[in-house]
């Protein structure tokens, strides 16, 4: 356990250095030093300036990022007349919930939600299954031409996805060799998400950091590659699997152009809200937007830590 603090290790997800000082006490004790020196901050003048700046930052950020969401959350409780009133009202004058029920039924929110959950869930499962297997193979089993394949996968990260939409669309209308038409089936969302080079890159880098001795020990005990993957590699990889899963779900949830053209009669939440938007009264539209935002916001608040860690997991620091 003595190795636990021996400088930057190669773990992908864990923070690589001491957490940023959360309070002034820690900052003064010299945990981390940033742009402004702790000495300066502990002087009376510095402390005053800091307090003012902090208050301003909190105010501006809250207004800029929570303000719109607040407006969205309360907007549904207002009447359409109240929403377009001058001057605007900060609180609903006669809060009513019927905009929410109307939004739910007019948007077909239940159906949209179900579709999106099915798309995101299936995409997640397939991604975990195939991308983990591929990354494991590329990292530990090292097949012939493995590096070439990895290189070609990574090169596809450079391709702007939107530029390939036309041939991709034609491909899913008539899958080569088997001639299946995948349009309006969940497969059309699920399968392309597997071709995610970033996932494979992240997973492979994580697997690379797992010592081979561990795998060899398991192999000597008679475990085949599948068993090694399942009983040794995967339990060690929980953090990175969490990251890949969350981003996999969010990517499907937020996608627009692809579901717009490939699943026109089983729309996702994102596309469906847009389709219905033009024909809805202002207040139920706002209520609908709020309802549509709840699932991912909830997901975020629950998995906040993993998501934050995942953003730095790209190892972008070099």
């Amino acid at each position: 356990m003595t190795t636990a603090q021996s400088g930057p290790t190669r773990t992908l997800v864990a923070p690589r250095r001491p957490k940023p000082a959360r309070d002034a006490v820690a900052a003064r004790s010299g945990a981390t030093r940033t742009l402004i020196s702790p000495v300066r901050l502990s002087q009376p003048r510095g402390r005053l300036v800091y307090r003012i700046v902090l208050a301003l930052v909190l105010l501006v950020t809250t207004v800029a990022f929570v303000g719109p969401l607040y407006w969205m959350a309360t907007g549904g409780f207002k009447s359409s007349q109240e929403l377009v009133r001058t001057p605007p009202t900060l609180f609903p004058t006669h809060p009513a919930t019927h905009a929410f029920t109307e939004a739910w039924s007019r948007l077909g929110m239940g159906g949209l939600l179900l579709n999106t959950v099915v798309y995101a869930g299936g995409a997640l499962l397939l991604q975990l299954l195939f991308d983990v297997a591929a990354a494991y193979s590329l990292s530990k089993l090292r097949p012939a031409l493995g590096n070439v394949i990895l290189g070609m996968m990574l090169a596809s990260m450079m391709i702007p996805a939107a530029a390939l939409v036309i041939p991709q669309y034609l491909t899913v209308l008539d899958l080569p060799l088997v001639h299946w038409n995948l349009q309006d089936t969940p497969w059309v969302i699920w399968l392309p998400t597997v071709a995610n080079a970033f996932n494979i890159f992240l997973l492979k880098r994580f697997f690379d950091s797992i010592p081979n001795e561990l795998l060899d020990a398991a192999a000597i005990d008679g475990a085949g590659p599948l068993r090694v993957l399942w009983s040794v590699v995967l339990p060690l990889s929980r953090p990175i699997l969490g990251v890949v899963s969350i981003f996999g779900v969010v990517a499907v949830w937020k996608d627009f152009l692809w579901p717009l053209i490939t699943v026109p009669s089983h729309e996702t939440l994102n596309v469906g809200v847009n389709t219905a938007a033009t024909s809805m009264p202002e207040n139920s539209l706002i209520a609908g937007l709020f309802l549509a935002s709840i699932p991912t916001i909830a997901l975020f608040l629950v998995f906040q830590r993993n998501i934050m860690a995942g953003l730095t997991a790209g190892g972008l620091k070099g």
């Binding site: 909190l58 299954l129 090292r142 394949i149 991709q168 590659p225 053209i261 730095t312």
Partner: protein, 314 residues
């Protein structure tokens, strides 16, 4: 502690095996490879089907046309058609305008936000969550919300501007302000992820550097310019490239907010591509546009890599 053990393909102990064992070793290598490829095949198939094959197909079909149900080679006709369309040039202009403005704000804003948040000794977690919150919305929800805010009449933005006795704007309704309005929406919705990435990079800067700079008499701006920026240069340039590639593909904001208008001022390249395919039913011309887009962004990536490498050598 760095563990970078690699396993060469020749890990099978062929050397120790005698000449008699060579066949068995070969068989073992073959079997091992087969098994490794079996793990790879699912993902590989998806890449082939949805990335590599479409790419080739796009290039091929950009030289073809469907004529009474028959595919014909038409040379550069599709390219001539698309470049003869005045919308083609305005779409590129619009896209570049969006990219330019979005970079100006979308690049500076998250970096500034990250620097400020990093200096906060309190409420850092709260600030981080706030900045990232819009990223988690379904994009259409955020976009439509801003459509309501940006209404020239009753919209919240104009009401606030009016109350502050500032000039109001026609936002999406005028062709001069439509594109900047889209940038505003897109920056609000997306800056969170860049901010958090920068924040992580900032926390990697050793405090001694600031200490030394301060001893040398560097003021706040000099410390930012001579310590913070160089220390995060690598990630700044990477994010710059990612952002250019992302903003060049802008579609959703235009589609949802303005439908490409007013007067085509927010029709982006991807929007035009979508129109050609799904409104004008000209898939091959759309493919030609797709190839042009691949080429432009490919050139951009190549230039980026070249500059990046030269920067590292220098």
């Amino acid at each position: 502690m760095a563990v970078t053990l690699t396993r060469g393909p020749g890990r099978v102990d062929a050397t120790r095996a005698g000449s008699r064992g060579q066949l068995a070793a070969l068989r073992r290598t073959l079997l091992r490879n087969l098994r490794a490829h079996a793990f790879l095949v699912g993902a590989l198939l998806c890449f082939v089907l949805f990335t590599w094959y479409p790419m080739i197909r796009e290039i091929v079909m950009s030289f073809q046309r469907l004529h009474y149900g028959e595919t014909q080679w038409v040379g550069l006709a599709n390219y001539r058609q698309i470049t003869a369309d005045p919308e083609f040039w305005s779409a590129w202009r619009n896209t570049l305008e969006f990219t330019g403005v979005a970079l100006f704000f979308g690049f500076a804003a998250p970096f500034a936000a990250a620097i400020v948040i990093n200096e906060c000794r309190h409420a850092q977690g709260y600030l981080r969550v706030l900045v990232y919150l819009p990223v988690m919305l379904p994009p259409v929800a955020g976009i439509l919300l801003f459509k309501y805010f940006m209404d020239p009449g009753y919209g919240l933005f104009n009401q606030i501007l009016h109350a502050l006795h500032l000039p109001t704007s026609s936002w999406l309704a005028s062709k001069n302000t439509a594109m900047p309005s889209l940038v505003l929406v897109s920056t609000w919705g997306n800056m969170g992820s860049a901010t958090l990435v920068y924040l992580a990079a900032l926390q990697g800067i050793p405090g001694e550097l600031y200490e030394a700079a301060e001893l040398d008499g560097a003021n706040l701006w000099q410390r930012i310019w001579h310590v913070t920026v160089p220390q995060t240069r690598l990630i700044l340039s990477l994010m710059l490239m990612l952002q250019v590639v992302a903003t060049m593909q802008m579609f959703t904001e235009s589609f949802v907010l303005t439908g490409g208008g007013p007067e085509g001022s927010t029709t982006t390249v991807v929007y035009l591509l979508y129109n050609y395919a799904f409104n004008y039913d000209k898939f091959n011309t759309a493919a030609a546009l797709g190839v042009i887009m691949l080429l432009v962004l490919g050139c951009f990536s190549a230039v980026y890599l070249w500059v990046e490498r030269r920067g590292r050598e220098a």
